[in-house]
Every structure is written in C-alpha cells, then in structure tokens.
Amino acid sequence: MSGTRTLHVLVMLGGMIAWAVQFTIIYGVTSTLCGRGWADATLFGIGIVQAVIVATTVLAFVPTALVFMGLLRAYRSLEGEDASAATAFMMQAGILINGLSLIVILWQGAPALILPACA
C-alpha cells in the first residue's frame, strides 16, 4: 500500500481510532482512579474523574470534527471533477465513519455529565 493510500485509510478511519483511544483512556483512568478511592478528588474545584472524561472527550472530538469537515469540503470540491470511483467511495465512507464517530464520542462522554464519579 502506498504512503498516500495509507494516509487516506487512516483519515477514513480517524474517527474510529479517536473513539478507541478515548474508550481506552476513559476506562483505564476511571478504573484506576476509582480503584484507588479518588472518586471525590478534585482539581480546581472539578472532580478529577469527570475532568479526565471531559478532557479526553474534547481531545477525541475536535480532531475527528476537523477530519469530518475536511473530508466534507474535499468531497464537495470533487463534484464535477473526474475523480476515481475508489477515491469518491473512500471519501463517502470517511464522512460516514467520522460523522458517526462524532456521535459515539459524545455518547461515551455523556455519563460524566450525568452520573456521579465511580457510581
């Protein structure tokens, strides 16, 4: 696979990769902090567990949103051009995957705003 094609695949799957990283960090950090009894620990008045979840969610969401919007812009600019079917397909798939990933990343971060830490 050429370097460009590898990059295209990575961009297409970017949202899922961000989601996987967010999932791993949230579960790992939350389990560790809760297991050590830091459920009520705060940093500048914000619960550490919630802060980690919110920060991780933002860090996963922002790059995914940028990739999503970039792909959308690139796909629109393709219209009228003589792009290959494979390129158009990968862009469509990338838009879909990254768009759904944005929603899933939000779903995964939502409990931090509703549930108490380590509940």
Binding site: L96, I103, W107, A110, P111, I114, L115, P116, A119
Partner: protein, 329 residues
C-alpha cells in the same frame, strides 16, 4: 378434547402474566427506584418490540414483494433515514434517559434508616444498629421497614457469596465475605414482599428467602420498640416447660434469646421468633406445627442447614418447645 386443549393453551398464555404482580415481582414496583427501573424496562421492551415488528415486516416485504414495489427499500433516502438517522436519534434519546434513571437509583440519602444484613448458609442475619437512643437488636429472615423513609441496607456474607434481592424494590447486590456493599431504597407502599438470594450459594440456595414487611412509621416504631425488648417470660407452665427444654436441649449454645441464659451467636436470634411471619428463611408459615416440624426434622426439610435435627423429643415435649418458641412474640 378441543375445549381442553383450548383451555390449556389459554392457561399457558396466562402463565407469563402471573409474574406481573405479587410479593416477588420486579413488574410490581413498591418503591421509587424500582418504579424508575420498571418504566425504563417498559419503554425499552415496548420500543424494541415495535422496532422488531417493523424490521421483520420490512424484511418480509423485501423478500416477497415484486421487485418494482420493493425498490424504495434500497434507496439512499431509506438507508439514511431508516439505517442512520433513526438509530442515532433513538439511541441519543435512550442513553440520557437510562443515565438519568441510573443517577436517581440507589442513592444514599440523609436520615436513612440503617440496617445490616449478613448472608449465611442458608439464612439471613438482620441487625438494626442503635439509633436515636433506641437499642441495637438482631432478628433473622425478616426485614421490617417504615414506608416513606430512605433505607440503607449494608450487606455482607459470613461464609460464601450470596446476593440480596427484593424484586419489588429494585436493585440486587452481592454479599461478599469481607466486603460491605450498600443498597438504598425507599418503600412507598405498605405491604409484605419477598426477598431472595440471587447468587447460587449451596445446596439450599433455592430455600433462602426472606420477608420484607413495609409498615406505616408508627407501626414500625412500635415493632422496633418491641424487638429491642428481652424475651417475655413464659405465661403458663406448659410454655415454661418448653423454655426449660430449650435450655436443657442446649439450644442456647447456638441461639440467643435475650433475657435468658441462651446466648449463642451461631444461629438466628430467637428472642422474638414468634413474631416473624415465616420460619426456615421463608419456607413455612410460622406456627406451632411448623416450628415443631422444623426442630424435629430440619435436615429432612432443609438438608445441609447447619442445625441438626432434634428427633429425640417426645411429641409432648416437642409441642411444649414449639409452643415456647411461638410465644416469643
């Protein structure tokens, strides 16, 4: 024959409905938390059933409808709205709803009545710690609670893992030796409910139940006050003889009867055993007959229980002993 078959089919259909109410049913909630979980269950079940029916109908349509009529199923619009937008919207509504139910369930509340329950093979030790000048006391196989007041039950186990579950009040929590877990609920309806062990704990796991009695606050205060008292003196010679048999038979080495020399801690506290609704951890109604049967033949009724059968009593002695136990109100 046909009518018999029809009746049998009707009864078969009625069977699932029997689980929708009663003293041991998650579908008949008697507390706020249980009601929240019940509503969530109904919404999820109804929604899932509806979606299943629609998807199945569409599937059948896709298989059997003429090609020109089913073509719209493969259109981009159908896929985007039915395959993407609908699941995203549905799950985006269900997720916060489920999280809000979780947030409001099993929450410790100030002023809660504390009760400690210890699971043992195959019964429940229930302890009411001292509170507001009221003395601590223990009972067994019966959880009595006031309605309207939050309850915090601290659970653990003395031997193997058990699980504490009162379906009508929601929640289910493991009882693990060496660890204390907590379960919070509020009874909103007076009545009698049934709790069970929900984790296989040995041969008699299925016979490890308990009664939950939800009382009006005044009735609960009266019950609590009575339970904290020592056992009443036998009122008549027949019962006194039963008490003497209890002492001579060595029952006091395993059981405590407060106010007497019986101070065993191994088995259930019998100070007010006569006031309980059932014996044998929810197995029989509590009366002289079942008490006598239990004492004489416990290993036949509940093989593996820690109490040996006392089959050596004469019939008259057994009646006196059971009468004494039944008089401990």
């Amino acid at each position: 024959m046909d009518s018999v078959a029809r009746r049998a089919a009707g009864l078969l259909w009625a069977l699932p409905v029997a689980g929708c109410g009663g003293v041991q049913s998650a579908l008949d909630p008697a507390g706020g938390d249980a009601t929240g979980i019940y509503r969530l269950t109904i919404v999820m079940t109804a929604g899932a059933t509806l979606i299943f029916i629609v998807v199945t109908a569409l599937l059948l349509y896709a298989i059997f409808a003429p090609p020109e009529r089913r073509a719209w199923l493969g259109s981009r619009r159908t896929i985007v709205y039915g395959g993407l937008a609908f699941p995203v919207v549905t799950l985006s509504l269900l997720l916060p709803y489920g999280l809000l139910v979780m947030r409001d369930t099993d929450v410790p509340r100030p002023g809660a009545l504390r009760i400690e329950v210890i699971g043992e093979q195959y019964w429940w030790r229930v302890r009411y710690p001292a509170e507001d000048g009221q003395a601590e006391f223990s009972t067994a196989n019966e959880l009595v609670v006031p309605i309207g007041r939050p309850i915090t039950v601290s659970v653990t186990a003395a031997d193997v893992i058990h699980s504490f579950w009162i379906p009508n009040f929601g929640g289910k929590i493991d009882m693990i030796p060496g660890r204390i877990n907590r379960f919070n609920f509020t009874a909103e309806r007076p009545g009698i409910y049934r709790g069970v062990c929900a984790e296989f704990c040995g041969d008699q796991h299925a016979r490890m139940a308990f009664d939950v009695v939800a009382l009006e606050p005044a009735a609960f205060a009266s019950w609590r006050s009575t339970q904290a008292q020592p056992a009443p003196e036998p009122a008549i010679p027949f019962l006194a003889r039963g008490g003497e048999l209890f002492r001579a038979g060595g029952c006091g080495s395993c059981h405590v009867v407060r106010g007497t020399e019986a101070n065993g801690r191994f088995g259930p506290d019998l100070t007010h055993v006569g006031s309980r609704r059932t014996i044998g951890a929810g197995q029989f109604p509590n009366n002289i007959g079942t008490l006598a049967g239990w004492v004489a033949n416990v290993q036949h009724i509940k093989p593996g229980a820690r109490m040996p059968s006392y089959g050596s009593f004469t019939g008259e002695d057994l009646r006196a002993l059971a009468g004494y136990l039944e008089s401990l109100k």
